[in-house]
Amino acid sequence: MRVPVSWLKEYTDLPEGTTAQDLAARLIALGLEVETVDAVGADISGPIAVGRVLEIEELTGFKKPIRYCRVDVGRANGTGEPQHIVCGARNFGEGDLVVTALPGAELPGGFAISARKTYGKVSEGMICSASELELWEDHTGIIVLPAGSAEPGDDAYGLLGLREDVLDIAVTPDRGYALSVRGVAREAATAYGTAFRDPAEVEPAGTRGGGYPASVADPAVCSRYVLHGVTGFDPEAPTPLWMKRRLALTGVRSVSLAVDVTNYVMMELGQPLHAWDRAALQGPIEVRLARSGEKLETLDHVTRALDPDDILITDESGPINLAGVMGGLSTEIGLSSTDVLVEAAQFAETHIARASRRHQLSSESSRRFERGVDSAVQPAAATRAVRLLAELGGGTVDPHYTDIAGGAAAGPRPIAIAGDHPDRVAGVDYGRERVIAALEQVGCTVEQGDAQTLRVTPPTWRPDLTDPNDLAEEVVRIEGYDTIPSIPPRAPAGRGLTPSQRLRRSIGRRLAATGFAEVLSYPFMGERDLDGLQIEGDDPRRDALRLANPLSEDEPLLRTTLLPGLLKTLVRNVGRGFSDVALYEIGLVYRPRPGAPDHAPMLPVDRGPSPQEQETLARALPDQPRRVGAVLAGDREPATWQRRGSPANWADAIETAREAARSANAELIVRSAQHAPWHPGRCAALYVRVDGEERLAGHAGELHPRTVAAYGLPQRTAAVEIDLDVVEAAGEPVRAPLVSGYPVALQDVALVVEDGVSAAEVEDALRAGAGELLEDVRLFDVYTGEQLGAGRRSLAYALRFRAPDRTLAAEEIAAARDSAVAAAAERTGAVLRG
């Protein structure tokens, strides 16, 4: 809501010298979110004055007709002599009053006025249009002031309101009353303790009853309906400049006098109005809900199919208005409308809100109805409108008006609160007297109940006040939020972070310490990502949730894997000149639950949900496992003066998974696998053991060349993705190891195995065969070559033996080694290399 300060001052006398900034600060302290104070016209300066056109000389021979005018500007030019001004507009004549910017003036946009030669004449200034002065949008020509409204030489600043301070207020949904100058002025009066003159306090023009015939079919959707008319109105009467200016300052475009008046009263009182050409109405008006199949062409030339939930204004021709949202085209006020009927109503908030969303029509009117309008202001608003129409458009106000009040439902309901409730909410000792005073200040009627309670009836313009805490807020804000003391909370002893929360931090630190940079990518993806990842049609990762309103049509899906975001971030970094990149992300993926209901149930809010209800709601949500993903490209260890670079490969990806698993103290079991988007020969499935059973934790390896191509990745990019919840479940608390001080015995064995036998199998066999004396196994060499023959490789292991209680004898060591080799031979066909 944009509120010109000069307009606000009509309803309260702010203290002398009050600046717009001070006013804004006080309103903010009261809870109105003043976003900016616009000093409109602050960039206009210098002599701008009223002039009378004395003589017009038409200049010819140019591309367009040009006028050379002699203009009386009084003594505004310092001499009193007429000013000679060249002008391209044609909407004025000799004797008209115009607005002139004289040499030395500066107009918006740094446009300096000086005497200069143009079209063969010296022009000593400019005759101004409304657009040039940024008064309002008008491209029809210069401003012509009404005859007799000013004298040549009069200063134009005050006359036109060239400079205005305007408060721009972001009105929160609870404060509908602040969508009016009236509402903001009332708060200003509270802020300064000045008297408030209510513009809604007007005597009705005429008598109630006997106006235009109307009925309300359902008082539940329309609790107040007022119609008042004007006859003999001049449809060509112009909107006065002051009204145009005020509307422009509030952000409303001037249309015609009749429409401008309804908008002006809406800005003034917050009550949306509608004006019809009465001649276009057919028979009595009925307010009712729409029937299925009905249609209405609205003012924006869109024919709308109506919903049975829409409130309609109808006459014998059918629907004429989508109530509270937009008028119909057939009854629009036009240039020939001499009889005008004004409607001021209160419609049910929720119906207007739904209609506005359904028809995607958010109007100044619907915004106010949605938030709730003053339930008693309708007669005053209609009166203000018809009086202005009659006054400015030369019509006659009908002696009778229609006023249908639909029962008590619409009015404010009393609220019982404990007298010290605000004190207990705020932690401040206000006392009963100050509580009552604050509530009365905002317009409530307060009755003393018993010793403890108050019976508070909110004012008609505050439909948001329904609960005791609403009243508490009013008291606290009137007393000032700055009076709330600061007392540290005293929580009971907490248990700190959970193991899972600690694990995430630990993994992050580990990966960052090993050279990975964390990314937090958007969890959105598209079909193209799934295609690029070579994910087949029946893969569960294809089963992604879809957003109804994605930011990008290319990425409407919620990620089922962390890889798309990581890979795109990798490409971005490579594109910025970083060829050696290692990235990780820890985040959720979203996997729809098989058999989930199509729609999550809506639970009641007037009580807590039962465990069963919570369970049904939980079933509607997707699984959201937490994953760790990482990608690597370029050199894992870049070349330095000491050593050659070591390119990132599949092994680094698996090692990254191991790093993460180490944080959880879980051991990964690595098996070769074929799984998109990984290279089928360089992909590991990673398992962990949970309660004795193997569970798949994720995959790691080199990416498939087609994925590399699809994303434009560096060759041989490697990636890993594991499920953190699974890894965490596999973690076991560390048991203190037995540290033996006896000597170690080292034994190396080289084993020849057929291709297809995995190193992990060989190592498992060695461990099993070596028995308890084995302390560690380390693979230190892999050899293939002609000596071995094709299809074979040699794996060289260093075995470390040690006993907890003695120095091992040579025979024991040999026996353990032989047993290890025998187990490897038996399980994997390994042959000891001679």
């Binding site: 809870g31 609960d467 990966l511 940079a517 969890p523 919620l558 290692a582 009580r607």
Partner: protein, 372 residues
């Protein structure tokens, strides 16, 4: 070796003559002093202290002397040999020291050569600042609650007193999840961390003191000051006898721990459906502390010369929320707050463009290291 010859006068045995012993000793000492290297000294040792050195040979002659003369001669030769031995030892030490000094100089390296092996990694500052914010409250005894990112509308809106057709429901631009069959699913990407309030109240025993950091979503296009995916830290306290004063105390403690002591905070009345009364929280600008206000000569980029920085929203938990979460509102009341993680990071570390936090450029993340 000569046989004992009792008739000889000791002084007549030339090698044992005092002058001769002194001469051998002086010769040895001169040679030792003249040895320039350890190798030369080795040769000198052999020549003057070895088995066949003149002094060693002289020593053998002592046995040939009559017993009365042996002691005197032994003392003389022994003394000379000790002196030579001492000199050798000392010269050996000197030469070793010289050699060591030379070798260590030769082994010197340029220690300013780069030493890194792995590229520099880092945790995302949004992660670490959220942890820091969380830890401030954990230090006060709060626990960390969590909830899903794809959330039921009931938790995200209804239970938080966003009525189905109230304008507040459209105040937050929401990502809606489609049902697999098309149409509405009743699921959204959570627009705030506040649904965790309801979950915490349903899952935990009272009193509840929790914070909930997490990802939140709104349909804003990415620009310098907006991102559709951002992070909040929710705080919730529900206990007996809770007032706005305790809320203010918690906020003040946060500001002091995060930005430094002595900074004022300010509550401004505002509106959130799930708190009543509601407030926006500002803190005094920790950079200019208000000195930039109305002072064009000293503009402040952190607070845009406003003197105050908005850090979040808060309020007294609306009793309707407590009711929807099954809490007895006659006995319990509470407060809640929501702080912006990205905002906190922007202010605390001078991040000027939201896109830097989103794009995942390694230069940005690595600069922040491991901890906030």
């Amino acid at each position: 070796m000569s046989a004992p010859n009792n008739s000889f006068d000791p002084v007549e045995v030339t090698p044992l003559h005092p002058d001769e012993v002194a001469r051998m000793r002086d010769e040895a000492l001169t040679a030792i002093a003249g040895a320039a290297t350890l190798e030369e000294l080795k040769e000198v040792r052999l020549a003057h202290a070895g088995d066949r050195s003149p002094l060693a040979l002289a020593n053998r002659e002592i046995g040939a002397l009559p017993p009365s003369a042996r002691a005197d001669a032994g003392k003389r030769v022994g003394g000379a040999r000790r002196e030579v031995g001492e000199a050798l030892k000392q010269r050996q030490a000197e030469l070793e020291e010289e050699r060591d000094a030379r070798v260590l100089v030769e082994e010197a390296v340029d220690v300013t050569l780069p030493t890194g092996r792995l590229p520099q990694g880092g945790r995302h500052p949004v992660t670490t600042v959220a942890e820091r914010m969380t830890d401030i409250f954990v230090g006060m005894g709060f626990e960390v609650a969590e909830g899903p990112e794809v959330e039921a509308e009931w938790y995200n809106f209804d239970a938080l007193n966003f009525l189905p057709d109230h304008p507040a429901r459209t105040m937050q631009d929401t990502f809606f999840v489609e049902s697999p069959a098309g149409g509405a699913s009743g699921l959204v990407l959570r627009t705030h961390t506040s649904p965790v309030q309801v979950r915490a109240l349903l899952q935990r025993d009272l009193p509840v003191y929790v914070v909930a950091p997490g990802k939140t979503f709104r349909t804003d296009e990415l620009d310098a000051t907006h991102t559709p995916v951002f992070h909040q830290l929710e705080g919730l306290v529900v206990d007996e006898g809770i007032t706005m004063a305790h809320l203010r105390g918690a906020i003040d403690a946060f500001v002091e721990n995060m930005f430094g002591s002595g900074l004022n905070t300010r509550f401004r009345p505002s509106y959130f459906p799930f708190t009543e009364p509601s407030a926006e929280v500002d803190m005094e600008c920790f950079v200019c502390r208000g000195a930039s206000v109305g002072n064009p000569a000293q503009p402040c980029r952190t607070c845009s010369s406003e003197g105050w920085i908005e850090i979040g929203g808060c309020g007294v938990v609306n009793p309707r929320v407590l009711t929807a979460a099954g809490v007895d509102t006659d006995r319990y009341s509470g407060w809640a707050f929501g702080l912006g993680v990205e905002r906190t990071l922007m202010f605390a570390r001078g991040v000027e463009d939201m896109r830097d936090m989103v794009e995942g450029d390694v230069r940005f993340t690595s600069a922040f290291g491991m901890e906030f």
